[in-house]
């Protein structure tokens, strides 16, 4: 009897985020007209991409017991680098598609740099992650502003806007399915747009890194370092080098978020991700990762990010000012930590 009670409490404590998300969806489906529609659901994913990306990168760092506060401004930095590169390439006569592709790839590479610095500071110079990445906020913000001289980067080719707002599949009655390009239609004819391009890019990246974390030695080492550094060292893991790469993973994801911002809004801005730091870290913690390290998974982080994105979208469709969102995210965050800390302990004590 006692055992069953224990397992029931554990069952809920373990899955509260999931139940919360379902409850949220049901609630908004009732109160917000237009929420539980393909459009509504797509909006959750479409505008949630930055939070998904930032929080997945952050998951790696948090599993090692660190934290990366710089992701928001590295995202802004990357949006500017991408925008500037693409404009330069286009002006030098490159075709827009090629300029966008090359610019994106180069930005992905450049965005590893802040992570390399963060990781080196943490691993080799023993700077606390909080301070190292906190300083990186200032550095990446400053460099961004220098690059654009206070003016958002602009004049990107229209194609970027088309990609950023386009979908993989379009289906119209009588016209069949088309890929990437919108079918020629009369205005007002119903077209079903499936899988926004940027959501696909986001989830491909997430799937790849989820695999790495779950199934490879790299992932095992990440958990091992977060669980017990000494044990990891004794088992022969090159902890320092590994930590550096973990911070690079985080800034790579911030870079990806910046590139996607650039595609969505055809501009690069220093503060593009400034408001997303809370969401990015909150998603990881709501997903059940421990800030002490050793615990957390990508899919649970996605769950946390979905809780935030659903909340925001639901409130918006309802027309409620999203100032309320910040309060609610803060409350859910505290709730998440309490559920994770208090409930399992009490169960063990019984």
């Amino acid at each position: 009897m006692k055992n069953r009670k224990k397992s029931l409490a554990e069952f809920f404590a373990d899955r509260w985020a999931l139940f919360f998300l379902v409850a949220e969806i049901v609630f908004f489906a009732i109160v917000s007209r237009g929420f539980l529609t393909p459009r509504g659901i797509q909006i959750i994913f479409f505008f949630g991409t930055s939070v998904f990306l930032l929080s997945v990168g952050e998951t790696f760092v948090i599993i090692t017991g660190g934290i990366d506060l710089s992701v928001g401004f590295v995202m802004g930095f990357a949006s500017i680098v991408a925008a500037k590169l693409i404009v330069v390439f286009t002006e030098s006569g490159m075709a827009p598609a090629a300029a966008i592709l090359v610019g994106m790839v180069l930005t992905f590479i450049i965005s590893l740099l802040p992570g390399l610095i963060n990781g080196s500071l943490v691993a080799f110079l023993k700077v606390p992650p909080f301070i190292a990445t906190f300083s990186m906020i200032g550095i990446s913000h400053g460099v961004s502003e220098l690059l654009i001289e206070g003016v958002p980067a602009k004049n990107l080719p229209h194609l970027a806007n088309v990609i950023g707002n386009g979908h993989l599949f379009y289906y119209a009655r009588g016209k069949g399915m088309s890929i990437f390009s919108r079918p020629e239609l009369e205005r007002g004819e119903h077209v079903l747009e499936l899988l926004p391009n940027i959501v696909i890019i986001t989830f491909i990246l997430i799937a790849v890194f989820s695999f790495i974390l779950k199934r490879t030695r790299y992932g095992q080492h990440t958990y091992a370092i977060g669980g017990n550094v000494d044990a990891a060292l004794r088992s022969g893991i090159n902890v320092k080098r590994h930590l550096v790469t973990v911070y690079m993973v985080s800034s790579f994801f911030a870079g990806a978020a910046g590139v996607i911002y650039m595609l969505q809004y055809v501009t690069g801005k220093a503060d593009a991700g400034a408001a997303l730091l809370l969401d990015g870290i909150a998603a990881v913690v709501i997903g059940g990762a421990s800030l002490y390290g050793g615990k957390g998974t990508i899919w649970r982080t996605i769950l946390g990010a979905l809780i935030i994105a659903t909340l925001e979208t639901g409130l918006r469709i309802r027309g409620v000012p999203t100032f309320d969102k910040y309060i609610l995210v803060g409350v859910i965050l505290i709730g998440a930590v309490l559920v994770d800390q208090i409930i399992p302990e009490r169960v063990e004590e019984e």
Binding site: I41, G150, N165, L192, L194, Y265, V266, R316
Partner: protein
């Protein structure tokens, strides 16, 4: 256990596949109703758009049009406005969207998508591309642009300020964003207006990205670097308020003349106290009211809506600020 989140994701995707019939049906049902529904998506939470909403509300009530006012974006930029636009449109049943696009290019794709679904678009205060919807371009789909002739306004501000300064001296401009149609035109108009005065010169332009604090800091440092600045032009609410704080803080009230744009209560009070010297008042309520009116005529009488509708503007100075006829041009919610 780990599969559950994946399952939810799959279900969400499945739902987004399976529900369209449902949604399509709902939209058609709404379309059959006689009543028109217009939506207003403002650019940022400020007195200018609050005043515009008032004009829109009055006209919508008068004509019996349903009105949805979206959330006011907290900051100026597509990343704040586009999610609000999409969420508002997701409610369905909207015939016309009146929007102040926060970027000349980033809003093209999202608005075009809505237009193709059959929703009409009127841009108010700011526009897409170069604002010329009469040519066939990727941004020429809106019914109309309704807003102040910002370029002409800029020229007139320059003329007024030149007159106040005896047609000589150095000038500085503080504005918001380089990719926003309205303020860019004000800056261009102002610079053009000043070229008519050979003894006057614009020595710099700063972009505060719609942050008043930044406008103040930039103006302070400009005044420090160039102590011979005699006049400053702040191109919108936040710019002008930041500029006037900087001039007051630097103790240069009166020595540096300030021309500002937008008749907020703060700026009008500053004018009364002699901290600001010239205020251009746009007519946001009129812009809003005209947008509803043209939209209504388009749907009910199939009227030919002009591509560009330009309401005028007024100037507040120390001399006329207490004039009873002028009070209606002050921005109020």
């Amino acid at each position: 256990m780990k599969k559950i989140p994946v399952l939810v994701l799959v279900l969400l995707f499945a739902a987004s596949l399976g529900l369209p019939l449902f949604a399509g049906g709902a939209q058609e049902a709404v379309g059959e109703e006689e009543e028109l529904t217009f939506a207003f998506v403002p650019g940022i939470a400020d007195p200018f758009y609050f005043t515009m909403e008032r004009g829109i509300r009055q006209k919508a009530d008068e004509l019996g049009v349903n009105l949805i006012v979206s959330e006011y974006p907290k900051s100026w930029g597509p990343e704040a406005q586009v999610p609000i636009l999409e969420a508002t449109a997701a409610r369905g049943g909207i015939d016309l969207i009146m929007i102040a696009p926060t970027s000349v290019d980033a809003l093209i794709a999202p608005l075009k998508k809505l237009h193709e679904q059959g929703i009409e678009i009127i841009t108010v205060d700011t526009f897409l591309g170069d604002g010329d919807y009469s040519k066939d371009t990727e941004y020429s789909f809106p019914l109309a642009y309704i807003g102040t002739d910002n370029h002409l306004g800029g020229v007139r501000v320059a003329e007024h300020l030149a007159e106040m300064l005896g047609e000589k001296g150095k000038l500085y401009i503080n504005t918001t964003n380089p990719d926003v149609s309205s303020v860019s035109a004000r800056v261009a108009g102002f610079k053009e207006g000043i070229t008519n005065f050979p003894n006057m010169e614009v020595i710099g332009v700063d972009y505060n990205l719609d942050v008043q604090q930044k406008a103040m800091e930039q103006t302070l440092s400009a005044l420090q670097k160039n102590p011979d600045i005699v006049g400053v032009f702040g191109t919108n609410v936040f710019s002008a308020q930041g500029v006037y704080q900087a001039v007051v803080n630097a103790g240069l009230t009166g020595a540096v003349k300030i021309a500002s744009w937008d008749a907020t209560e703060t700026l009008i009070n500053a004018l009364k106290e002699g901290q600001v010297d010239l205020v251009l008042a746009q007519k946001p309520a009129e812009i809003g009211s005209m947008a509803v009116d043209w939209g209504y005529k388009f749907f009910t009488e199939n009227a030919d809506v002009p591509n560009k509708v330009i309401p005028g503007f007024e100037f507040f100075t120390k001399e006329n600020v207490n004039d009873p006829d002028m009070q209606k041009f002050i921005y109020k919610k």
